[in-house]
């Protein structure tokens, strides 16, 4: 089993995280203690780890959420430093985070939200905005495959959505915005098997040569549906173990405690 990230083996590196150290902005609490991770275009990487290992923090730091302080290290998207960018610049650059807890925004219609986001990104990239008509067609098409009905599109963003609906709405955004690098933060949490399958199908449909995925999950079950190329184990703010899909099965079988004991 390879115990180090397989750097350099792949020509097309999408996300490259080096020695990332992060603490909470307001407290002296260190969360990430030197994360190294490389995700290649066309590949699906999974990060697994016990609660509190820093998985979600990694996703928030990459997408630029307030409240964290990067004390060392870097994170590049296609060779561009992410950590200097505002959240919207990261999104325009092609980074997408599917939230563990998608945010409810009362008063903002889902359609308005999606169209504003899409056009803002297109504008930032110097592309033309999508017309209302084209946009409607595009949304309908993408929504249908995720079984998102018209009613969900009319309601305010995520307000009154079930857990499954919220997660499907995240995948719909992913499908519309066509990011280069997708991070899925505990996308399986709160989903039953059917809902999880629907979400996984949506993700699988988006897998392509030019796109990288980082799937963060506590359980192996999501990885039955979204098959990863590489699996990392995170503990105490570091990637401690890297391997193939079999590593996820090992976690499932033996639990984190045993595996981590083997590392230390």
């Amino acid at each position: 089993m390879s115990r180090s990230a397989s750097k350099g083996l792949w020509a097309n590196i999408m996300l490259n995280i080096k020695n990332l150290h992060v603490k909470l902005e307001d407290e002296d609490k260190v969360i990430l203690r030197g994360v190294d991770l490389t995700v290649e275009a066309g590949k699906v990487h999974a990060i697994m780890g016990p609660n509190g290992s820093g998985k979600s923090t990694l996703s928030y730091v990459l997408s630029g959420r307030d409240g964290y302080e990067v004390t060392d290290g870097s994170a590049e998207l296609e060779g561009e430093e992410l950590l200097d960018m505002d959240p919207e610049e990261r999104a325009a650059a092609g980074l997408f985070l599917a939230f563990q807890y998608p945010v409810e925004i009362p008063g903002v219609g889902n359609m308005t939200f999606l169209r504003t986001a899409l056009n803002a990104q297109r504008k930032a990239r110097g592309e033309e905005e999508v017309s209302a008509g084209d946009f409607l067609k595009l949304v309908r098409e993408k929504a249908a495959s995720l079984k998102i009905d018209a009613d969900m599109m009319k309601r305010p963003v995520n307000v009154g959505f079930s857990g499954g609906e919220k997660k499907r709405n995240e995948i719909l955004q992913m499908a519309l915005l066509e990011p280069k690098m997708c991070i899925l933060d505990e996308t399986d949490s709160g989903l039953d098997v059917d809902a999880m399958k629907l979400v996984a199908d949506g993700v699988n449909a988006l897998r392509s040569e030019g796109r990288g995925f980082l799937v963060i999950t506590h359980y192996q079950r999501l990885l039955d549906h979204i098959k990863p190329d590489v699996v990392h184990i995170m503990a105490n703010g570091r990637i401690v173990l890297t391997g193939g899909p079999e590593l996820a099965l090992e976690v499932e079988k033996n639990g984190y405690t045993d595996i981590l004991a083997g590392v230390e």
């Binding site: 997408s63 630029g64 959420r65 307030d66 505002d86 959240p87 919207e88 990261r90 999104a91 325009a92 997408f96 985070l97 939230f99 998608p102 945010v103 409810e104 925004i105 009362p106 008063g107 903002v108 308005t112 939200f113 504003t116 986001a117 899409l118 803002a120 990104q121 930032a124 305010p156 955004q173 915005l177």
Partner: protein, 425 residues
């Protein structure tokens, strides 16, 4: 309370004299009554509980001056009968023909006959609205109105009446008094917009008969140093509907009072407002008093204020449910979004309830833009400024949704959005 200064009294009286209003008959009597009532109560003073959060000085000052050049006339896309007032006086040349199916419009100055329907309304609803709290500035407007409209609605008005206020003089002190009477089953929409004057004081008395429907939408536009004090007094009868919405943008001092009396069963009364203000000189006060004196009635108050750079927003709202007003459904929400650290929101949302089978609630919140929502939008690529204005508009949306006519709502929404675009950063 504070006595009205003799100089101001003389000045107001002289102006009225110059306008040749009937000194006898119902109008003369109503004005005379108001003057003596005003003498008894005097003007509001800073120590009055009802003026706890708003200093009345700017509204009671003897002289005013403001740049009135930026007057904003709204609803230009809406086909309406336009009635224009310049510095508070009717401008026939600029106004449409006042004839319209379903309603009659008479200028206050022209209502000279002793027998007139307005005798039952002019100053009468205002008088009733003086208890339990006195509203001297409304009494002042009854006594010293420089002009106004008397509108009698007999059927379903085919299009809205749009009262447009144009300010010409930077010392204009306009006092308007309108009366609207809706007969049984009648319907009308009243629109008001434009920066009337350096100081604009108005009364709007509305008598809504059984099964009638009254809609009112107004814009108080964007001159920064204008002052506004308005009162709405409404009597709302059985199975009728009263809805009023106010968008208030800028202005140094705005106090809008609505005094709604629900006297018939199964009636509906809604008042709502959206306010945006910027700067330490901005002060906006919505004061509402809704009395439920009948069964199975519904009232709603929805007020939203967006404040920045030291702006102050005030809300005083009261639901009074009288004994026997069973099955009352009263709802009230007042919220402010403070865009920076200096602004303030002061609220006194009251319930006074003397009937048991009721459902009344109020909510009030104040805070900054939700960081989580802001981050979510940005993580989807929406730039910070745009994300902020989206969230501000979303915040105002609940109030705007109180306007039934979508075109009118959209007109105001665009104006608020425009304000946000100009005032970002």
């Amino acid at each position: 309370m504070m006595a009205l200064a003799q100089t101001r009294l003389d000045q107001l009286s002289a102006r009225i004299a110059g306008l040749h209003f009937p000194s006898t008959g119902w109008q003369g009597k109503a004005r005379g009554d108001a003057l003596s009532r005003l003498g008894e109560v005097g003007l509001p003073a800073a120590r009055d509980e009802y003026w706890r959060y708003t200093a009345p000085a700017k509204l009671t000052a003897a002289e005013v001056k403001a740049d009135v050049s930026k007057g904003e006339v709204a609803f230009d896309e809406t086909d309406a009968l336009r009635v224009v007032f310049v510095d508070g006086v009717f401008d026939a040349a600029a106004s449409d023909d006042l004839a319209m199916d379903g309603l009659e419009i008479v200028r206050l100055a022209d209502a000279v006959t002793d027998i007139h329907w307005a005798a039952e309304i002019y100053g009468q609803l205002e008088t009733k609205g003086q208890t339990p709290v006195v509203r001297p500035l409304a009494t002042l407007a009854t006594a010293f109105a420089t002009d106004g409209l008397l509108i009698r609605v007999t059927g379903k008005a085919t299009r809205p009446v749009h009262v447009v206020y144009i300010g010409k003089s930077d010392t204009s002190d306009a006092i308007l008094h309108h009366c609207v009477m809706l007969e049984k089953g009648a319907e009308m929409t009243l629109l008001e917009s434009g920066d009337a004057a350096a100081r604009f004081t108005s009364n709007l008395e509305v008598d809504v008969a059984e099964e009638a429907r009254f809609h009112h939408v107004r814009l108080q536009g964007r001159n920064a140093d204008r002052r506004v004090n308005t009162h709405i007094f409404a009597r709302i009868a059985e199975q009728s509907t009263f809805k009023s919405f106010t968008a208030s943008i800028n202005g140094t001092m705005t106090r809008n009072e609505a005094v709604l009396d629900i006297v018939g069963d199964d009636a509906i009364a809604h008042v709502a407002g959206a306010t945006v203000g910027d700067g330490r000189d901005f002060h906006n006060d919505d004061t509402v008093f809704i009395t439920h004196a009948a069964e199975r009635c519904e009232s709603r108050q929805v007020y939203k204020k967006v404040l920045k750079n030291g702006a102050t927003g005030v809300f005083q709202g009261k639901i009074l449910v009288k004994p026997g007003a069973q099955k009352t459904d009263g709802y009230q929400i007042s919220q402010s979004l403070l865009l920076d650290g200096d602004s303030q929101f002061l609220a006194k949302p009251e319930l006074e309830i003397y009937a048991d089978d009721v459902k009344c609630s109020h909510g009030s919140t104040s805070g900054a833009i939700d960081d989580t929502a802001l981050f979510y939008l940005r993580s989807r690529g929406v730039p910070l400024r745009r994300a902020q204005s989206l969230l501000v508009l979303a915040f105002l949306a609940e109030a705007l949704s109180e306007i039934e006519d979508e075109a009118l709502a959209e007109d105001l929404r665009l104006r608020l959005e425009d304000w946000l675009d100009r005032h970002e950063g």
